[in-house]
């Protein structure tokens, strides 16, 4: 009997660890995305943060953005492979939007680094190049806001589901743990 139970345990354990790892990855995604959103809305307003914090936050955001892509790399690869198989699919629109976001984000980051004044790079760019970079930085940053808004909107179902699960899950837990007690007579 004990041998059967141990065999059952062995059979169940790998599946459980995989699902646990998956859940942890989703949880990590939720927290990272929340951090990215917070950083992004603050980062967009240079006159709110000040130049030094803006540039530092920008670099941190770029790192977090790369991490976000790495965490979603599987889906990037799978959609890239099968892109033309199902053209009329929501994931294709997402893919195009994400590609545009990636390019735009690269533009913002590179131009931002080139015109940075507090990161200690002090690149000797000519005034014309600097102005062009500033224009690119500003325009692409405004475009990023629009694309990010669309990106959030396109993933709203995922956000809704996982935010309810991982961010507001404690609300449901507390309501089930402390149900309204029936009136006692």
């Amino acid at each position: 009997m004990a041998a059967i139970q141990s065999l059952r345990k062995q059979a169940v354990t790998p599946e459980r660890t995989i699902s646990k790892r998956k859940i942890n990855k989703t949880r990590l995604n939720v927290y990272l995305d929340l951090l990215l959103t917070g950083m992004f809305i603050i980062e967009m307003e240079e006159h709110f943060t000040g130049l030094a914090l803006h540039e530092l936050l920008g670099l941190t955001f770029a790192v977090a953005f790369v991490l976000h892509i790495i965490l979603h790399w599987d889906s990037v690869v799978s959609v890239t492979r099968t892109f033309f198989r199902k053209l009329l699919h929501e994931s294709r629109l997402n893919y195009v939007l994400n590609a545009a976001l990636f390019i735009d984000m690269m533009l913002v980051t590179i131009s931002g680094i080139l015109i940075s004044r507090t990161l200690g790079l002090q690149l000797a760019l000519s005034q014309d190049v600097q102005r062009t970079m500033q224009t690119i930085h500003m325009v692409s940053a405004e475009l990023v806001l629009i694309i990010v808004a669309l990106h959030v909107a396109m993933h709203w179902k995922w956000i809704q589901t996982n935010a309810a699960k991982y961010l507001f899950g404690w609300l449901r837990k507390s309501s089930t743990a402390n149900p309204v007690a029936p009136a006692s007579h």
């Binding site: 240079e46 943060t49 325009v139 808004a149 909107a153």
Partner: protein, 221 residues
Amino acid sequence: MTALKKTRRTRRAFYILVAVVIISGLALWSHGDLRSPVQSTAMLIGLSSSDAGFAMAGERGAPPDMAASSETSSSVAAAPEAEAANTATTDTTATTTAMTTGTMTLETLTAELAAAGVDVETLSTTMAAEGRSLENLLSVVNSGRVTVAELAARLNGESTESSPQQPAEGSTSLLDIRWEEIGSVAYNLWFMLAATVTVIVVARPVGWLVNRVKRPQTAAT
């Protein structure tokens, strides 16, 4: 039953989202923080950057390395004007766009500046000599970054930089946060939520259309 519950929950979440967008939108609008990103981009393209970057009047001053160049201004009164005007171009089409889409007209601005004691005629002449016009100032005011009173104070030579709320000119300290600009941050969040509502609403007819296009294709195969 569970599907029905899920649908109800989704619908309830959507209604909450719509309510949040409407209420926060009204709050932002009442504080003057509601602006179109397209409009602000058009305005930013219209306003050329000075050496100090894109900082407009009322925003951060020039960084220390750039501030030196602006110190050569001949008069105290002309300095803030130059700072405001340097951010603007002679591109009249862009400024006209800002003028028509903004909340204030040129007449109102000149009247308010005159009432605040600014010599508008001299200002206009000085700006014209520099190849700029009052419309540049109007676009800066309409951007919401600076009030007419602040602009008038600057043009009158009263340094607003000395006020405790304002950061020091060219300040590059890390914790140089201007809390009065929190509305702009809130606007970004609001814009995302508003876009989400729009996409959810638009997705329905689009999804229906896509399904209609898909159906004959699958039937043919």
